[in-house]
Symmetry: C2
C-alpha cells in the first residue's frame, strides 16, 4: 500500500473497531436492559443506540452516498432528547436499521480512493471549501468515529464492575 492508502486504512480500522464494539455491546442486551440509564437521569441505552444509528444514517447524504435509509429515526433519536414521547422503536427495529446503515456506509468507505476521501462533504459550499479544505469526507469519518467512542464510553458505565 502506498502512504495515503495506509493512512486511510488506519482510519477505517479505527471506525470499524469502534462500530464493532458498539454493536457487540448492544446486541448482548435484552429489551429490559436497554431501558437502563447510563447515569441517573441521563440517556437510556436504547436511546443512545438509536442515536448512533441515526447519526450514521445522516452520514449517507452528508458524504454523498445517497439518501438516509432510516429517516424515521431522526426525530426520536437526534432532534429530540430521550423520553420526549415521540415514536417508540423496539430494539429489534433499531438493530436492523443500524445493521443496514453500517453496511451501506462500509460499502462506500472501502471503495473510495484517497482523492475521494478528501473531497468535500455535501454540507459545505464550493466557495467555503476553497478556504476550508479540511471540511472533507475524511474529517467526517474521524469526527463520527470519535462520536461513537464518546457514547460508547457512556454505555459501558452500565456494565457490572469487574
Amino acid at each position: 500500500m502506498i502512504v495515503e492508502e495506509q493512512l486511510i486504512d488506519a482510519a477505517l480500522r479505527s471506525w470499524k473497531s469502534n462500530a464493532d464494539r458498539t454493536e457487540k455491546f448492544f446486541h448482548a442486551l435484552s429489551e429490559e436492559q436497554l431501558q437502563q440509564e447510563v447515569a441517573p437521569g441521563r440517556n437510556r441505552l436504547l436511546y443512545l443506540w438509536g442515536h448512533l444509528a441515526s447519526v450514521s444514517d445522516g452520514m449517507l447524504p452528508l458524504l454523498g452516498i445517497g439518501p438516509r435509509l432510516h429517516p424515521e429515526l431522526e426525530a426520536t433519536f437526534v432532534t429530540n432528547p430521550d423520553r420526549s414521547g415521540t415514536t417508540l422503536f423496539t430494539a429489534s427495529a433499531i438493530k436492523q436499521a443500524a445493521a443496514e446503515i453500517d453496511r451501506e456506509l462500509w460499502s462506500a468507505f472501502t471503495k473510495w480512493t484517497a482523492t475521494e476521501w478528501i473531497a468535500k462533504h455535501t454540507a459545505v459550499s464550493d466557495e467555503d471549501f476553497v478556504r476550508e479544505p479540511h471540511r472533507n469526507r475524511f474529517s467526517v469519518l474521524l469526527s463520527r468515529t470519535a462520536h461513537m467512542a464518546f457514547h460508547y464510553g457512556q454505555v459501558v458505565l452500565t456494565k457490572p464492575r469487574e
Copy 2:
C-alpha cells in the same frame, strides 16, 4: 497540501479538538468538583484526568519521541483503579503535567511527514511490522483520540443538564 498531508491534517485536527475540549472541561472545575464520580461507584473526575494525562505520557516512548515526562502518574492512574490508596495528586499537579505532555506530543505531531507517521511504533518488532504494517504511529494517534473521546463522554455526564 497534497493528499497525504490533508489526511494527516484531519487526524491532527481531530486529536486537537478532543484534547482541547477535555482540557477546557477539567480546567473549569474546582478540587471539590473533581471528586465527583461519573456515575455511582465509578471513576472520579480527578482520576480520569490523571488517567488521560498518563496515557498521553505513554505515547512519548511508544511513538519514539522520548521517555515519559511524568512516569510517576502511571501507578496511580493506569496500573491501579481509582481509590487504590496509591499516591495522591492535586489537580494543579495533574494540570501542569498534562499541559507539558500535550505540548511535547504536539510538537512531534506537527513535525512528522506522512512517511514518519506510517512508521512503526516502538511496541511492535520489525518482523511483526512486516506482517502488520497497520501497527504504525498514525494508528496510535487515532486510537488515542478515540480513547480521549471515550472518557470525555463519561466526564460530561457530571455536567448539570441543560
